[in-house]
Amino acid sequence: MDKETFRYLFDTYYNALCNYACLTLGMNDDAEDVVMEVFTHIWDKREGLGDLDNPKAYLFKSVYHKAMEKIRAKKLVIVALEGEKIVVPDYKEEIADDYLLKEKIFQSIRQLPTQCRVIFVKSKIEGMSHKEIAQEMQIAVKTIENQITKAFKLIRKQLNTI
């Protein structure tokens, strides 16, 4: 595998994998470590390694197994508020696709103009009502509606060009 291919894999998958590992481990510090370990392994072995047939499955599976290894090694028991154990879902292709789509949308949102992005995040991700946003930002409800429509349009455009 050459450096360009490695770079491409890294740029495409790194952030989505960190977020996926974070879900699996419930802890940020370890999430990055796990993904770094997987990529370091590929980098070190890149000369003997051809191009991966199915990089998506390879990367997500590796991260999943590394994360589970960590959980087992640490004998971690992550307990939720109600005292029940958090169950980690097994690797599935749909989960990987879901994370890659989330990553694309996330990157598109990051590229929105500032006001548009702030309103979109407050409304669609943080779940605030239009009225609450209007009060907090001192703007008209109509402006909020317009900005959200604009945000969806821009995100859609971004997604289509990827």
């Binding site: 890294f10 790194y14 974070c22 004998k75 005292g83 949308i105």
Partner: protein, 308 residues
């Protein structure tokens, strides 16, 4: 025609037919346009993005792909390096010797003890607690301690060695219990790292970690009295008595429990402020309030009956 049928038709037909269909459909009604928009927005899982974050991708890439720098070193340089290394070793030995000589041991025996360390950090030690201090940013503790660690501009971390494991922090407020059968770390502010036998866990504000057998178990702090012992004030406001009993036990670091026959303790509510120095005074107060009866065997207190 409903939206689903339209989409299915679109998927089945080729490019030109698709364009015609869309045009036809668009002409049908503007309400269709609205539902098309809703369909499209519905497909984007934006509401699932909560907690999704950006990690430092570029830094990670640099870290992985920068290879160690290899170069042939002339012989005389190797000798110079060796000499320098020996010198350093001698100096660091001297330094370590000096550090060792700066060790301080503080023992709180009969009363809770507040102490200010050289680096500006403050520590409260429970009765029967021993603290060994290296004079800088490292302590070892046996017993129970509450720390307010001063943050250093240099970023130097502060470490607390426990009976089992080690806690590393930068600047924060937390308590530790370090006894042969009991290891607990609870964080009031900031976050700390707990390490034990090659495993590590980050404990955030409002969380506590207990070592149970060999498992590291973390859970949220539910009681407002988690750190009450260090301030020596225990406060209850309409607290169910079974919870209050747990808090009182933790506060005085005594094994206090309700006999299993008592089922109604959750219905009794307690509102009071306790500044007593020992558990017997508190139990006397509960005797007046709830007519409790208790017995003591060894270091265990068991409440055997009560009335609300």
């Amino acid at each position: 025609m409903n939206l689903r049928d339209n989409i299915n038709k679109l998927n089945e037909s080729d490019g030109r037919k698709q364009a015609d269909l869309i045009q036809m459909w668009k002409n049908e009604a503007s309400s269709n346009l609205q539902s098309m928009k809703a369909e499209w927005e519905g497909q984007l899982p934006v509401d699932q993005l909560k907690g999704y974050q950006q990690y430092p991708v570029a830094e990670a890439f640099e870290k992985i792909t920068t290879e160690p720098y290899h170069k042939v070193v002339p012989m005389w340089r190797k000798w110079a390096v060796a000499a320098l290394f020996t010198g350093l070793l001698a100096v660091s030995g001297l330094y370590l010797y000096q550090r060792a000589s700066a060790n301080v041991t503080i023992v709180a025996e009969a009363a809770i003890h507040h102490h200010k360390l050289n680096d500006g950090s403050e520590v409260t030690l429970d009765k029967n607690t021993r603290l060994d201090y290296d004079g800088e940013r490292a302590v070892a503790i046996a017993g129970r301690g509450f720390f307010k660690v001063a943050k250093k501009e240099s970023g130097a971390s502060f470490t607390v060695e426990l009976n089992k494991g080690k806690v590393t922090v930068l600047g924060t407020r937390f308590s530790v219990t370090s006894l042969p059968g009991e290891v607990e770390v609870a964080v009031e502010e900031g976050r700390v790292k707990y390490e034990y036998e090659g495993r590590s866990i980050i404990i955030n504000a409002g969380e506590r970690m207990k070592l149970s057998e060999q498992d590291i178990v973390s859970s949220p702090i539910l009681s407002p009295n988690q750190f009450s012992w260090s301030a020596q004030v225990l406060e209850f406001k309409n607290t169910p008595l079974d919870r209050a009993i747990q808090d009182i036990g933790r506060h005085f670091h005594q094994n206090l429990s309700l006999a299993t026959e008592i089922k109604s303790a959750g219905k009794c509510l307690l509102t009071t402020r306790i500044t007593s120095e020992n558990i017997d005074q508190v139990l006397e107060e509960l005797k007046l309030l709830f007519q409790i009866q208790y017995h003591k065997s060894g270091d265990r207190y068991v409440i055997t009956s009560m009335k609300c």
